[in-house]
């Protein structure tokens, strides 16, 4: 029995920051890096299942990132996960969620887990794509934004609740193996103990390349590309008042201004 949890090291910004020279991201000197907040919950959910099963389950943490992202991996291992996998190739530097999902799909094929958990989204980019793309690539059942889960190792199905719009929740049963993206608040994530942190340093972490997974750089070409990242100028809001005609005319002016007409 094995649960695979995909995690991401995310970047939080300092109060003041500068953009990278190519204008496509923030200069990494201004990042504070940490394990994605959502992933604390997905890791905890896996650990709770493992513990409820009398530890008769393996929790494997996988991330895609350079060696700096070992911190995120070790954070998850310190909480009690069994081992880690880190995949990296410089060609992944601009990878989007779909490209990452292609890499993760190969890891899933290799590991053959009974269940895959991802965070509902990453707190830095927030695309909420990776988990569902992974399920699509695998052809596995999936559920996004899971806020409650009943599942024991060996079960053929899991019963879960997921959050919908307008405060609605949906109860569903899903065939396993499946990919579930886990929502904040599903549990109370634990803190690592000092013992956990010390033990995490000894736990095995496989470092894999694209070659190891049988992938070429071409096969993980991102589906999207960031052209420019910028901080929008503040103070652009304007409340348009007056009669309908006046409002329409002011709106037309603004549109012309913005389009440089």
């Amino acid at each position: 029995m094995k649960i695979l949890v995909t995690v991401k090291q995310v970047a939080a910004l300092d109060d003041e920051f500068e953009m990278r020279d190519d204008g496509r991201d923030v200069d990494e000197d201004f990042f504070e890096e940490d394990l994605n907040e959502f992933d604390h919950y997905s890791v905890e959910e896996a650990l709770l299942i493992k513990e409820a099963a009398g530890d008769d389950a393996e929790v494997v943490i996988v991330t895609v990132g350079d060696e700096d992202t070992d911190d995120a991996l070790r954070t998850a291992l310190a909480k009690g996960a069994d081992r880690g996998i880190r995949v990296w190739d410089d060609s992944l530097a601009d990878a989007d969620g779909v490209a990452i999902a292609r890499v993760l799909a190969k890891v899933v094929e290799r590991e053959q887990p009974d269940m895959v958990f991802t965070g509902a989204q990453s707190s830095d980019f927030g695309s909420a794509v990776t988990g569902m793309a992974l399920a699509g690539l695998m052809g596995w059942p999936h559920a996004a934004v899971v806020c409650a889960l009943e599942y024991s190792p060996g079960d053929n199905t899991a019963t879960l609740r997921r959050e919908l719009e307008g405060g609605l929740e949906e109860i569903m049963t899903i065939r396993c193996p499946a990919v579930l993206s886990i929502q904040l608040g599903i549990n109370e994530p634990r803190y690592a103990s000092l013992r956990g942190i010390k033990q995490a340093k000894q736990k095995p972490v496989d470092e894999l390349t694209l070659d190891d997974l049988g992938l070429s750089a071409d096969s993980i070409a991102p589906a999207s590309r960031v052209r420019r990242m910028y901080a929008p100028e503040k103070g652009q809001a304007e409340l348009i008042t007056g009669s309908a005609a006046e409002q329409a005319s002011r709106l037309a002016e603004i549109i012309k201004e913005l389009r440089g007409m």
Binding site: D14, E16, D29, F30, E32, D71, E188, R190, Y191, A192, S193, L194, R195, G196, I197, K198, Q199
Partner: protein, 732 residues
């Protein structure tokens, strides 16, 4: 990322000329007591020099007596009576001059407020009066020869100040000391050339300034501290009357004015506690001086925020920011502003616990925020620098209140991998409740500073961690946590059974599990409904009972306090007492003092006068009291009984871990220690000290107990006076 200070603060860093001297910026450490005086020159030098290093442009002594006729024993002043004092004060000026900082001395002649309990002199004043501040202290009315003699004391002291290396002398007329007693008709009832008109009442002050200026004015800057309004109306000095008149009379004789308000008997109106006064609270009086003077003006007002400091200078209300308490709380305040590190400022909380030690008379100053204050010389603690960790031991701190958060902060500063764990969602422990009490919001700066610093430290040191909202750790959890050293900082709670300082016993019928009886914690948690008629049974000597009385009265409850100890006794020392009493009266809170409870029944409490047991004491045999039976008991009804009878340590976790010492080795635990209220309930300043101290001494053989500190006491075999004789010399 290092950031630069905002340009709007540049005004705080403009140099300013003061007579023959130039101050490098606008940060002036106001004269303030620390308990060092002249007798502990190492303490004096190190404490002041740390501030010079931290960027203050000028540093002062505390009040410094000019002559044995002005002796404030047991309170500790500095003294500049003779060559021995000059030598000892030289340690301070030399240390301060290591940095680009001026050294000032506040020349104090206490007059009618000086008790002279050590020197046994008789102080002289403008008229004979009995001090409203000091017990049993009368002064002798000066004649003209006396006046010339006392004025010469100032001159001689100023010359000795120059010998000691000071850059400026401050003729101290604040807090109704020295020349202010002459100006104020409250003290000065003379009818000669020194009494009557403001010109006559100001003459003593003007003459002192003339003589001091003549003697040392070419070399030293002359400052004068002036309480511009003594806050008792026309009976004494009012700012727009005698205040600005004296400024005009003496303006040519000073190089800088040092302006405050108030008197000595209620000097909490000057050193305003945050409970009652915000920063800049004296500006409505101070601002008149710049309108009537050609000289730079400096003034205090617990300025903690550079925004406010720059504002009062831009507004033309002051030229220089003077600060005592903010400089104690953060000796590096100017440097942090200069470097734009505003979130590193350890902001003064305005609790006045620093002042309390001077008021108590004798003990060295302590600070709630800055545990290193007063420990610079004797323990070698620098406020901003820490000794590197001396081992790879990891440390678990249980409890993130004032003690635990300070311990974790200092351990992380030293480089120890440290985990701080608390079941609460926020750092601060019981402080998070206290800050909700009337007027105590600013005490939250203590928590905020540690919260910000810990947040930065755990980012720098990834294996360290602050675990908030965590499940309460059991002894098993702690044993298995994986830390080599464990510090327990689990705080204290209010007694639920009435155990108290008077009887050391429970009060029958007191039981905080009942719906109509509450501890402070139960009030903060809002877990019980509070009835209309509230009785607070108190045997605590600090703020909790008066604060709860004020809070509950403000919510419409009818409050009576039965107190077995003087209500808010410690608030005399923090200068909060006078306004606390005024507030109780304003809010119709009934205080039954010198009373304790014999029993409680549903809806009523029986109390008695603690002195009603007869003054005759005689032996009456075993099992019998040596005094008469107390028959003063009476009943009082309540809807809710609030219990501030005493506190006890929450040390269950510590005790269990100590009992399971045989399990330490197999869990790689080297030591378990207890600090703060969990060790014994104490002032927040002392809890913070505990946390700081154990973090500084964690690798020692017995970290539970403090290391010896460097003592400064008289050394037998050496005379204090350079040409003196230490051996006994009888006059016979």
């Amino acid at each position: 990322m290092a950031s630069k200070r905002p340009e709007k603060y540049d005004i705080l860093f403009e140099p300013i000329k003061i007579g023959p001297k130039t101050m490098r910026n606008r940060f002036h450490q106001s004269p303030h007591c620390i308990g060092a005086g002249t007798d502990r020159p190492g303490f004096q030098a190190a404490h002041r020099a740390v501030k010079a290093e931290g960027g203050w442009g000028a540093i002062n002594t505390e009040y410094c007596s000019i002559h044995p006729e002005s002796d404030d024993t047991m309170r500790v002043s500095a003294r500049i009576w003779d060559a021995g004092d000059v030598r000892n004060l030289r340690a301070m000026t030399d240390a301060v001059h290591e940095y680009d900082c001026l050294a000032g001395i506040e020349l104090w002649y206490g007059g009618g407020h000086a008790p002279n309990m050590e020197t046994r002199h008789t102080a002289r004043g403008p008229s004979q009066f009995v001090s409203e501040f000091e017990t049993l202290t009368y002064c002798h009315e000066m004649d003209e020869a006396d006046i010339k003699q006392v004025q010469q004391y100032y001159v001689d002291a100023a010359i000795r100040s120059r010998d000691a290396g000071f850059d400026f002398v401050n003729i101290y007329g604040g807090h109704t000391y020295g020349p202010l007693q002459w100006l104020s008709p409250y003290y000065n009832r003379r009818t000669d050339g020194y009494g009557g008109s403001v010109e006559n009442r100001g003459r003593f002050w003007v003459e002192v300034l003339e003589k001091v200026k003549k003697a040392v004015g070419d070399d030293l800057a002359i400052a004068s501290r002036f309480a511009i309004d003594t806050l008792i109306g026309p009976a004494s000095v009012e700012v727009e009357e005698d205040g600005i008149k004296l400024i005009k009379m003496a303006d040519d004789l000073v190089d800088v004015w040092d302006i405050n308000v108030g008197d000595i008997a209620q000097w909490g109106e000057d050193a305003g506690p945050s409970r009652y006064y915000r920063q800049g609270h004296q500006i409505p009086w101070q601002r008149f001086v710049k309108q009537n003077s050609k000289k730079p003006v400096l003034g205090v007002g617990r300025f903690t925020d550079p925004e406010k400091m720059a504002e009062v200078i831009r507004n033309g209300e002051l030229d220089i920011i003077s600060a005592a308490r903010p400089s104690i709380s953060d000796p590096f305040l100017p440097q942090k502003i200069e470097e734009g590190r505003l979130d590193d400022i350890r902001t003064c909380i305005g609790c006045n616990v620093c002042i309390s030690r001077w008021e108590i008379g004798g003990p060295p100053m302590i600070c709630t925020q800055n545990a290193t204050a007063g420990e610079e010389y004797r323990r070698g603690w620098h406020p901003e620098r820490f000794e590197k960790a001396q081992s790879d031991d990891t440390i678990l701190v249980v409890g993130a209140g004032p003690a635990g958060s300070e311990a974790a902060r200092v351990l992380m500063e030293r480089g120890y991998v440290t985990h701080l764990v608390d079941s609460a969602e926020k750092i601060g422990g019981h402080l998070n409740d206290i800050t909700t009490l009337p007027g105590l919001g600013e005490w939250g700066y203590h928590r905020d500073y540690r919260e910000v610093q810990l947040d930065k430290l755990v980012k720098k040191q990834r294996d360290s961690q602050v675990s908030l909202g965590a499940k309460r750790l059991t002894a098993d959890d702690v044993l298995e946590y994986g830390a080599e050293k464990v510090i327990i900082a689990t705080g204290s709670s209010w007694n639920t059974d009435g155990v108290n300082a008077l009887t050391h016993d429970v009060v029958p019928g007191i039981n905080a599990s009942r719906p109509d009886q509450v501890t402070p914690e139960q009030i903060f948690r809002g877990e019980k409904e509070i009835g209309k008629r509230v009785v607070i049974l108190n045997a605590d000597t600090y703020f909790m009972a008066p604060s709860l009385a004020e809070m509950l009265s403000g919510k419409g409850h009818e409050v009576t306090v039965i107190s077995g100890v003087e209500l808010g006794h410690y608030m005399h020392f923090t200068l909060e007492y006078p306004n606390m009493r005024r507030r109780l009266i304003e809010m119709n809170i009934n205080v039954i003092g010198d009373a304790w409870a014999s029993r409680v029944e549903e809806g009523r409490i029986e109390y008695y006068d603690i002195w009603a047991e007869g003054s005759r004491r005689e032996y009456r045999g075993p099992g019998k009291l040596p005094r008469d039976e107390n028959r003063s008991h009476q009943w009082l009804e309540f809807d809710t009984l609030v219990l501030t009878t005493g506190r006890h340590s929450d040390d269950g976790l510590y005790r269990e871990l100590m009992a399971r010492k045989d399990e330490w080795a197999k869990n790689d635990i080297k030591g378990v220690y207890v600090i703060g209220d969990a060790w014994a309930p104490k002032l927040m300043a002392d809890s913070t000290f505990d946390g700081h101290r154990i973090a500084r001494e964690i690798e020692d053989d017995e970290p539970q107990l403090p290391l010896p500190y460097k003592r400064e006491v008289s050394v037998w075999g050496t005379a204090f006076q350079p040409d003196g004789e230490h051996r006994q010399e009888w006059r016979s």
